[in-house]
Every structure is written in structure tokens, then in C-alpha cells.
């Protein structure tokens, strides 16, 4: 059924503050539904992006009313973020959470790519998908190496674990991370939501890895987090460059709030846990209230009616966490050797020998690469690398065990 948030009242922002006791939530079972963990991780990243954007906006204005509106929205977002992030259980180690982050990266990116109407944006998603897919494999090997545990217990084999585009070859010159952006007038509303969502997810991942690398003890673990955090920075650059900078501050605020509505609505549609359902539903109602505030700001300060820039309804299909094994395998088979070249992509064997990619590879990989070392060390200890290939042999012959 068509759902137009602009026709919903939601909860007025003045009624959205919650007490500390209301913010104190019972964490999830870390061995529960992996996709509930994915939803929690994603929505935490979405709230972080919303807060950071509102901070950036606030620094571009000294208007008291606008700053107060942004401050109010940010504080509510902070409360929402606290609830969502604290659903992660305390007995879930940073490495276990990391495996959840990579499961998000794989199944979110793959789902977005499968549902993306614009071929160039689909290509951007496919490209980074194979890199995040490889990160899951590297972290799963680290998990087995230092904790002696099976990452498939966390992923429930809904996401396969095997090499993607090897992390060691993902490092490229920063110039090759910048892509052309979509045009804000012609872009499909669904594409805009997809890009905003993946930017937020990758940004959270980048920050999480570098924030937690210093808490780890084993050098191989610390080094792996540092290395992969740099790929996540590449991914943030890659995805954020897809956004048209023509949108005004007020339009960007509306789009942020609209995406939050879209995502809480999506999480609500697929959540089986009734307790989580109530949280998603509450946050959906709150975000609708916040969307109305953003729309009022757009009307007042830019003279634009929200209906002029928003679609008449949310996408028919909610963003869904589900298994994407077949899709990931097909992209692997076709694109594992693709590299970024300027604002586009090219097969590795078509890059000229003097391409900056090779020079950059030489700089960062000189002296060894943690993502290779972790697998090598695990092979020494366990006699093989860790994989969870449930659909048969690896689709790329050169990456088979």
C-alpha cells in the first residue's frame, strides 16, 4: 500500500524526548537473527550521518531559529542512536560486531545493486560490493585465528564467506575514488535513497574500524583494522561523490529525514522480533515528525514545497536484508578483476604499466599487507583459510581454496 510520509502526522518533535530509563534498552542476543543485528548496525550508521550532517549545516548558519531547529533534531537523533546502538550486546566483541558490519556491507550493497534502476550507480555498488565481501573473509579469518571461533555462527551462513576482490589489490590512488555524481533533477528517487543510505553505512564502518583498532591487542588485528579502515575511506569517497552538490542545505536536510523515514519503515516491515518492531515503529513516527520540521524549514527559508522535490510515496519495496549469495557470486565471476581508473573502471589487464594505481600499490603494500598476513597466519595455525562456501566452489578459479 502506498505510504506517503508527508500525509502522516508522526510524533511532534516537542514530544520526542525520552528519559534515561526509556533509553536503557535490553540488548539483543548476539546469536539471534543476524539480519536483526544488520538492521541495528545500519540504523546506527544512519543516525550518525543524520547527526553529523546537522552539525555541518549548523556550522554554515548563525540564524538562531535554524540552529535551534537543528539542535533539537540532533538531540533527538542522539537519543535514537543511543537506543539503536545499545541494542548491540555487551558480550559481542568488537570483532564480532565487525563481522556484523561486513555482513551489512555485503547484503546491503548487494540488495541495493539488485534494485538500483540506474546502471552507473549499480556499477558503483557492484564495484565496492566485491571489496566489502573480501573484508568479511579477512575478518572471519582473524576471528578464527585469535578467538578460535567460526564466523558462520554469527552470519548463520546467510552470507557466504570467501575471498572477494582481494583487499591487497583494493588500495588505489585517491584520485581514482572520485566518481561523477547523479543529476538531482533527473535522478530516480530510489537511486537518491540508495546512495544516501550506502554513504551513511560506509561512513559508520570507516569510523568504527579506526576507532576500535587501538583497542585490539594482537598486532595483526590492529593492522588489519587500520588497513580495511582505509578501504572504507575509499568507499565513502566513492559513494559520496555520487551525490549532486546542487542541492541546498535545506533540501539536503529534507532528503536526510526522508531517507530515515524510508529506512525505519523498511526495518519495521521485515522485523520479526516484536520488541524491535516497537522500536522501529516508534522511530518511524519520530522521524516523520522530524521530516515535517525539515519540510517547514524548506518552505520558509527556500520557498520550496516538499512535494516539489520528494516522490509522492515511499518505494513500493522496503529495503530488505536477505541473502544475496547468487548475486554476489555472479558479480564476483564478472568483475573481480575490475579496477578504478579515473572516474570510471577498467579491467586490470587494460591498465597501462605507468598507471598511478601500481605506484600507489607499491607504496602502501611495501613491507607486507595485513589482509594477506591474517590469512597466511590462520593457514599456519589451522592448516587452511577460513571459508563458508555454502553454494559450491568459488566462482573464480584463481580464488578457490
Amino acid at each position: 500500500m502506498a505510504f506517503n510520509p508527508l500525509e502522516q502526522r508522526g510524533i511532534p518533535v516537542e514530544e520526542q524526548f525520552r528519559s534515561w530509563s526509556e533509553l536503557s534498552v535490553e540488548p539483543l542476543d548476539k546469536l539471534g537473527d543476524p539480519y536483526t543485528r544488520c538492521r541495528v548496525i545500519l540504523m546506527n550508521g544512519i543516525e550518525v550521518e543524520s547527526i553529523l550532517f546537522a552539525h555541518q549545516f549548523a556550522r554554515a548558519t548563525d540564524d538562531l531559529d535554524i540552529r535551534r531547529a537543528l539542535a533539537l533534531g540532533r538531540r533527538i537523533d542522539q537519543q535514537q542512536r543511543a537506543v539503536v546502538n545499545n541494542l548491540n550486546p555487551g558480550d559481542q566483541s568488537p570483532l564480532e560486531t565487525t563481522i556484523g558490519y561486513e555482513q551489512v556491507a555485503v547484503d546491503l550493497t548487494a540488495w541495493l545493486a539488485r534494485n538500483e534502476p540506474d546502471p552507473a550507480l549499480k556499477q558503483a555498488l557492484d564495484f565496492a560490493l566485491l571489496e566489502d565481501f573480501d573484508h568479511l573473509y579477512r575478518y572471519a579469518n582473524l576471528y578464527e585465528l585469535i578467538d578460535g571461533r567460526d564466523a558462520a555462527e554469527l552470519t548463520d551462513s546467510l552470507t557466504e564467506i570467501m575471498p572477494g576482490r582481494p583487499t591487497v589489490v583494493e588500495h588505489r590512488h585517491p584520485y581514482d575514488d572520485v566518481r561523477p555524481h547523479y543529476d538531482t533533477h533527473t535522478v530516480d528517487p530510489l537511486s537518491r535513497l540508495h546512495v544516501m543510505t550506502i554513504v551513511a553505512a560506509e561512513q559508520q564502518t570507516m569510523n568504527y574500524y579506526l576507532n576500535h583498532s587501538a583497542e585490539l591487542v594482537e598486532p595483526v588485528a590492529r593492522d588489519l583494522y587500520v588497513e580495511i579502515s582505509h578501504i572504507e575511506e575509499q568507499h565513502v569517497t566513492h559513494y559520496e561523490s555520487l551525490i549532486d552538490p546542487l542541492d541546498s542545505w535545506f533540501e539536503q536536510l529534507v532528503f536526510h529525514k526522508y531517507d530515515e523515514v524510508h529506512l525505519y519503515w523498511s526495518m519495521l516491515q521485515q522485523e520479526a522480533d516484536p520488541r524491535l518492531k516497537r522500536i522501529w515503529e516508534l522511530h518511524l513516527e519520530m522521524e516523520i515528525g522530524q521530516l515535517h520540521v525539515a519540510c517547514d524549514l524548506l518552505r520558509r527559508y527556500q520557498g520550496v514545497e516538499p512535494e516539489e522535490i520528494l516522490p509522492p510515496e515511499l518505494p513500493e519495496v522496503p529495503l530488505t536484508f536477505e541473502t544475496n549469495k547468487e548475486y554476489v557470486r555472479s558479480v564476483l565471476a564478472e568483475q573481480v578483476d575490475l579496477r578504478a581508473d579515473g572516474t570510471g573502471y577498467r579491467p586490470l589487464d587494460e591498465l597501462p604499466d605507468d598507471h598511478r594505481y601500481f605506484a600507489f600499490q607499491g607504496i602502501v603494500n611495501e613491507g607486507g599487507t595485513p589482509s594477506e598476513a591474517v590469512v597466511d597466519e590462520n593457514r599456519v595455525v589451522d592448516g587452511r583459510d577460513f571459508r563458508d562456501e555454502v553454494e559450491g566452489p568459488h566462482p573464480v578459479a584463481g580464488l578457490r581454496a
Partner: protein, 231 residues
């Protein structure tokens, strides 16, 4: 409410550029743009780009008027902003009809239009984002300045449209352009002159008033003063 922003749903099209990607179904090329328009002995792809920029400016102008009409504390200005906004919306409709009548797409957003929209967005933002460092009377001036700047470009656009009309082959199309220029041109003259004159009056009102210049004047008093301007 009039929808003024071109979107995929309204049939928006655009050209790709070094850093702008456009979904294939929404892409247009210079050749396609030129082929859609009648041959007037001009670079018709360039003409299409220019008309798109002029139309975008009218649309942004309508947004500007909506915004300043909602925020001014002066009832005379509010009324005038509303009137000018309605006329600006009518000018946008006239341009849409002209473009469509030539075989073009009023929802085409040219690179030149993006440039205009970027400037217009910053123009309207300038009337609010720095509001905290402006007193009530200065905010009124900043809003009026934005109107003046917007009307200046608008005026120049319509003068150019009139020159382009001279190049069209004789016939129905040229007549339609002439009628449009005949209707809009005088109103654009009036809009620009009103903005210029009113800016001057506003300056003189403040320069001549001790209350306006008083440091520390209360906001409520200033609002009352602004409310009384031009009455």
C-alpha cells in the same frame, strides 16, 4: 501549489558532463536538443541551454518570492512580494509554453541552468543563513537585495529573449515569441525598477531615522518600525 522543480517524474532531462552523470533514459545530447527546435540560423542547442537557464531562474525567483513574502515583517513588502511572485510564476509558465511550442522540453535542465540554480540557491540562502548576525532591518534589506539581484538577471534574460526572437523565421512561432516578450518585458522593467527604487527608499528611511541607527534597539521595536515602512 505549483510544482516548479523538474524531476524524473515531470520528465526532466539533462546532458552528461565531466562530473555529471545522467541515467540513459533521461539523457539528451546537443544534437537532439538542436533537432527538436526549428532552424533559426543559430546554434539551437545553445539556445535550448539558454532558455533552460532563463526558465530555471524564473522558477527559482518564484521560490525566492515565496520565501521572502513569508519572512518579511512589512505588510507592504509582503503584499508586493506576493504580487511579484505570482507574476514571476506566470513568466515561468510563458517560458514553458514557448519552449514546448518550439518542440523543446520545459523540464530539460541545461548545464547553464545548473549554474543559475546554484547561484540562486546561494542567493536565497544568503537571506537566512546569516540571519543571526543581522538585525531585523538589515534582514529586510538583505531580502530586498536578493530580489534586486534576481530581478537584474531576470531582466537581462528577457532582453536577450527579445533579441533571439528577432532571429526566428517569420511565422506563428516568431509571433508567439513577440507576444510573450510584449507581455513579460514591461513587467520585468517594472519589477527591476521597483526593487531598485525600494532599496533606495529603505536606505533613506534608515539613514534619516535615529531609531534605526540606535545601537541596542530592541528587536520588537525594530519589527514595529519595519512594519510601518512605506505606509
Amino acid at each position: 501549489m505549483t510544482i516548479l522543480v523538474p524531476t524524473k517524474a515531470t520528465g526532466a532531462t539533462a546532458k552528461t558532463a565531466e562530473m555529471t552523470y545522467v541515467e540513459p533514459a533521461q539523457q539528451v545530447t546537443d544534437d537532439e536538443l538542436a533537432a527538436a527546435l526549428p532552424d533559426a540560423g543559430l546554434d539551437m542547442a545553445f539556445v535550448a541551454d539558454f532558455l533552460s537557464a532563463a526558465l530555471t531562474h524564473e522558477r527559482c525567483g518564484r521560490h525566492l518570492y515565496r520565501s521572502v513574502a513569508a519572512r518579511t515583517n512589512n505588510p507592504v513588502l509582503k503584499r508586493r512580494y506576493e504580487e511579484l511572485g505570482q507574476e514571476t510564476e506566470r513568466h515561468a509558465e510563458i517560458l514553458e509554453d514557448l519552449i514546448a511550442g518550439m518542440g523543446g522540453n520545459p523540464s530539460y535542465v541545461s548545464p547553464a541552468a545548473r549554474g543559475v540554480e546554484g547561484a540562486d540557491t546561494k542567493l536565497v540562502e544568503s537571506t537566512s543563513l546569516l540571519g543571526g548576525s543581522l538585525d531585523v532591518t538589515t534582514r529586510e534589506m538583505v531580502m530586498l537585495q536578493a530580489v534586486f539581484l534576481a530581478e537584474s538577471l531576470d531582466h537581462a534574460h528577457w532582453q536577450t529573449i527579445a533579441e533571439l526572437a528577432d532571429h526566428l523565421p517569420d511565422g506563428d512561432l516568431k509571433d508567439r515569441w513577440a507576444r510573450a516578450v510584449g507581455e513579460v518585458g514591461p513587467e520585468e522593467d517594472e519589477h527591476l525598477e521597483w526593487a531598485r527604487e525600494t532599496m533606495g527608499k529603505m536606505v533613506m528611511l534608515q539613514a534619516a531615522s535615529g531609531t534605526m541607527a540606535a545601537v541596542g534597539a530592541k528587536a520588537e521595536e525594530l519589527v514595529e518600525t519595519v512594519r510601518g515602512w512605506f505606509s
